[in-house]
Symmetry: C2
Subunit: 416 residues, 2 copies
């Protein structure tokens, strides 16, 4: 058998092609704002009010008419007290209002003096000495400073964060319409795989290895808001694989597998998908992570079920998920942004052998503000992704010397 | 009333003092490795095996004796077939084994030739022509290349990520002992606060604002693995506050509030905590986020319950959580690392007015590899934390001009 060399596809082309298949899922759900962290908005959030609703004090102190305090030391009569949550009467000439953080600035007053700059007097009783000259407007937060009435504070397609839940709440939204969770069926193939817990390390048969990919893939999927069905390890047999795929396609938006998509003839996943639907095998010009498969299977209950086959090597599978599957799943949820911007950083390592493929090197930020390289960059060494706190996106054909500027992408950004 | 000016405490001092109170909680739990993402390990993970278990092929191809192929074009008889999950017999002189990715390298063979570099022959039947000269060791992954038997792959105190779950699984661990979730009681104070959903925007009374802090605080706590009890808005009344604190202390490790910890006399949280336990009010030299309170209340069922009071301004509350409460909660879980390393980046903005306090400016990475500044850095403008994708940690007294190098910390890292 002569295996044909397939042409390599660039990662950018692969991503564009993959995303062209990722029509956002039509289903949405309405959740309590409290429960929407990490989900993708399926509505624009339009404010029905100003935030803050009126001019208010940003300090505990006194609301004054600044014209009354032309010089430090002016004494004003305190005629009212305005805690947060109440509203005061107009401040007349020569008077001041005791005011607290968040309370509306009363009519007439045009400045707040911090209490640290004032002195409450015994004589005359109920008076205050102002020890600074206030500037008009000082320590006043203006109505609408954060949000103006009618503003779109977040657009459909935005991925919600803790801060955006707070912003939604600040305009009175207790529920949010978000994209439904993608339903993902996850399985592994490979007769050499054994599940941890089923066989003790000492009893592992020759050639057997523990399945590790399914553990990180499940966690990665959950971090992206997916509902995961774990189908376990499917035996390397054509019929079992066809059956597993057919069952999964009925009730899932995506079937994700690792292993079984290289050009080796032992793989049963490719013909199984092909017998049910369509499949393209890609050779992507990245390292780790060359083999990749995209396809689709008709689902019975609803349109198609996507199929993605990741490489079986742990680091290849991990990296390929981050650079291809993550954008795909965010797009399925209607997200409009999925790129984690790289930041230029200084290599404190050398990488003397350039590769023909674009490489994602596992690195870690060091205390000197530079990047250290994990010594073993083999696609089988998952330790590199545990030790590292991110990757360098290194162009094809590029060597790296200490001091060079490289493009760093943190795992934190890719795992969010 | 003359409010005394309190001395400012540096953030580093505040963090060190806060962490000195954060004795790791003694409780642990044992979880399925699948369910341990984001949790903190309470055991060292020691490998009972080599990963990979034996030398194996990293390609689909042929296992050969490199001495048999001194020149390209050598023809070898294929005497066996070794799929992954099986093990082969010794490879004799002049023969080769068909081998697949992950399969153990058979005795005698010292190199793998990719199938793309070979040609299966019709004549002689069952022979293969090797079209390159293999280097000894090529395409062989060595036993123990990832993990050696006896190695500690992760130490107690490590926070688990998807990749570390994969690594744990790869050494056969189906369960992991992790720190128990900190139990956190969350409440807000302030009579001006209204819960979204309870009053429509058009019906909001003068001076009222929607509670937003509790929404992001709950999400932030959950991201850190906490079990959150939401106690709602406690009225600005001494007795109600005392009662709420006393009830919460019985069954929580931390009571977290926002609002009510500035020096304003309208705050009932301080005297309430003081009547039950101890409380220190800090003025921290950061902006946003100056006021902060740490205290403790005796719990009945178990030691003390910590108390942390955050400022009421949304951005102050948000930032103070990230720089102080996040490390505290990770330390309560026994984590040994909580610092998100800043990266040097280029400011594409100017910040002409230096502040006496260390500032955390909300910024966003732009397409040119620099940082843009959100125009309104007021502590009341939560939009800044939604628009931004991180903060610049700007030293006290420091102005910034376009082109200056600043220290950037991404929200992704701080929110993980």
């Amino acid at each position: 058998m002569n295996a044909p060399r397939q042409p390599l596809k660039s990662l950018d082309d692969a991503l564009a092609e993959l995303l062209s298949h990722a029509a956002p899922l039509p289903q949405t759900e309405t959740l309590s704002t409290f429960d929407a962290d990490g989900r993708v908005l399926a509505q624009d959030l339009v404010s029905a009010l100003q935030v803050p609703p009126q001019d208010n004090s940003s300090m505990d102190g006194y609301a004054v008419r600044s014209a009354d305090v032309a010089e430090a030391g002016a004494v004003l009569q305190v005629t009212q007290r305005i805690p947060a949550g109440t509203s005061g009467a107009a401040v007349g000439a020569g008077t001041a209002a005791r005011i607290f953080t968040g309370a509306p600035v009363p009519p007439g007053a045009d400045a707040i003096v911090m209490q640290e700059d004032c002195e409450a007097l015994q004589q005359p009783a109920g008076a205050v000495r102002v020890n600074i000259v206030p500037q008009p407007g000082q320590w006043i937060r203006r109505s609408g400073e954060d949000v103006t009435r009618g503003a779109v504070v977040l657009q459909s397609g935005a991925r919600l964060t803790p801060a955006s839940l707070g912003l939604a709440a600040s305009i009175g939204l207790h529920e949010l319409k978000v994209a439904a969770r993608p339903r993902v069926a996850l399985f592994s193939t490979g007769d050499e795989l054994v599940m941890p817990g089923q066989v003790a390390p000492a009893d592992m048969p020759a050639g057997a290895i523990y399945n590790s990919n399914r553990f990180f893939l499940r966690a990665l999927l959950q971090r992206l808001g997916c509902e995961v069905t774990d189908m376990g390890i499917v035996p390397d047999q054509r019929e079992a694989t066809v059956q597993a795929l057919r069952n999964a396609a009925v009730s899932h938006d995506l079937i994700l597998t690792s292993g079984g998509v290289s050009v080796g003839e032992e793989d049963h996943v490719k013909p199984a998908v092909q017998s049910l639907g369509e499949l393209s095998l890609w050779q992507i010009a990245i390292k780790p992570g060359k083999p990749f498969a995209y396809g689709s299977i008709p689902g019975t209950a609803h349109g198609i079920c996507h199929f993605i086959g990741l490489p079986g090597n742990p680091v290849s599978s991990f990296i390929t998920f981050l650079v291809l599957v993550r954008p795909f799943l965010l797009r399925l949820q209607g997200a409009t942004q999925w790129q984690e911007a790289p930041v230029p950083m200084t290599a404190h390592f050398s990488w003397p052998r350039a590769d023909k493929r674009r490489e994602f090197l596992r690195v870690r930020r060091n205390a000197q503000g530079g990047l250290d390289l994990f010594p073993n960059q083999s696609s089988g060494v998952l330790t590199s992704a545990v030790w590292g706190d991110g990757i360098v996106d290194n162009p094809a054909g590029q060597t790296v010397a200490p001091g060079d500027t490289v493009q760093f992408i943190s795992f934190a950004g890719l795992l969010a």
